[in-house]
């Protein structure tokens, strides 16, 4: 249901290469287009967005908003691929319990667990752990990122 958006763009693992600065001074890395609606939810100027992930955001301090904005930037560096039914990967997203469709966009975590992009992104904003194995999502990257 509504999860079957097809994207043909190459996954953005390429964004992990090189040594781009994550400082955000230059506006940060360009977000992949399909994430825009979610990103907007966290813009500090959005005063009345009742979006689900923003539920906790109505009383957020500026500091928290910056933290979340940074986290969104980080999450967007995790690779996206398309679901390939021939592989032995999970058949359904364990967050929404809906089966993946072929060619559907899935997010790969460092532990190689996969989820629908919108399901896992909403979760990672809240907790940077894989819901299946509790592996921290690139803790090393996060530390270097947050101290900058």
């Amino acid at each position: 249901m509504g999860n079957c958006l097809k994207i043909n763009s190459a996954d953005d693992i390429s964004l992990l290469r090189g040594s781009e600065s994550f400082s955000g001074q230059d506006g940060g890395p360009t977000p992949v287009s399909q994430h825009e609606p979610m990103t907007q939810v966290f813009y500090p100027t959005s005063s009345s967005s009742p979006g689900d992930a923003a539920g906790a955001g109505n009383h957020m301090s500026e500091e928290d908003q910056i933290k979340i904005a940074k986290r969104i930037g980080l999450v967007q560096h995790l690779p996206i691929g398309t679901y390939d039914s021939s592989s032995k990967k999970a058949r359904e997203c364990v967050i929404c319990m809906v089966e993946f469709c072929v060619d559907e966009a899935v997010r790969y975590l460092p532990c190689m667990h996969i989820y629908h992009v919108h399901c896992i992104d909403d979760w990672l904003i809240r907790s940077l752990t894989c819901p299946s194995c509790l592996e921290p999502v690139d803790a090393a990257l996060l530390t270097s990122y947050e101290t900058t």
């Binding site: 249901m1 509504g2 689900d52 992930a53 539920g55 364990v94 967050i95 929404c96 319990m97 809906v98 919108h118 399901c119 909403d122 979760w123 809240r126 907790s127 752990t129 819901p131 299946s132 509790l134």
Partner: protein, 168 residues
């Protein structure tokens, strides 16, 4: 996760639990038109003080489920160190994800979006059998459990009897 997706996920779980009931509890809705509010009946686990009891509890799911946990409240009176006197269940897997303010819970012990009604109830049933003494919600019950077990037992037995009367 939209409200529609949340309700679909809950509907799926309800259908699955109706088709393949899980031992130890039964589940339904408080109001059949509201998928976000469940009523469960927990059977007091065998070989525990709660054996023989039938404990009714309500689960209130937020619209953001499964990204955020439900609240759980016993409607039947129950005496337990990890259940507040008003029935609110205090169990770490129902605690919001995110930074650990208190520093005493591991991420694995807190809410995860893979939890379902079934996994929540399995945890609650195991909590009945094995109270967690470290972070009691009902301090009096915890103290009694530790220091005057016969009194604790007597109070639980009274709840069990009462729950049987309410169910018959």
């Amino acid at each position: 996760m939209s409200e529609l997706q949340s309700s679909l996920l809950l509907k799926k779980q309800l259908a699955e639990l109706n088709k393949n009931p899980v031992e130890g509890f039964s589940a339904g809705l408080i109001d059949e038109n509201d998928i976000f509010r469940w009523e469960v009946l927990i059977i007091g686990p065998p070989d525990t003080l709660y054996e023989g009891g039938f404990f009714k509890a309500h689960l209130y799911f937020p619209k953001e489920y499964p990204l955020r946990p439900p609240r759980m409240k016993f409607v039947t009176e129950i005496w337990h160190p990890n259940i507040e006197k008003n029935g609110d269940v205090c169990i770490s897997i129902l605690h919001e994800p995110g930074d650990d303010k208190w520093g005493y819970e591991k991420a694995s012990e807190r809410w995860l979006p893979v939890h379902t009604v079934e996994t929540i109830l399995i945890s609650v049933i195991s909590m009945l059998a094995d109270p967690n003494d470290e972070s009691p919600a009902n301090v009096d019950a915890a103290k009694e459990w530790r220091e005057s077990y016969p009194d604790f037992k007597r109070k639980v037995a009274r709840c069990v009897r009462k729950s049987q009367e309410e169910c018959s």
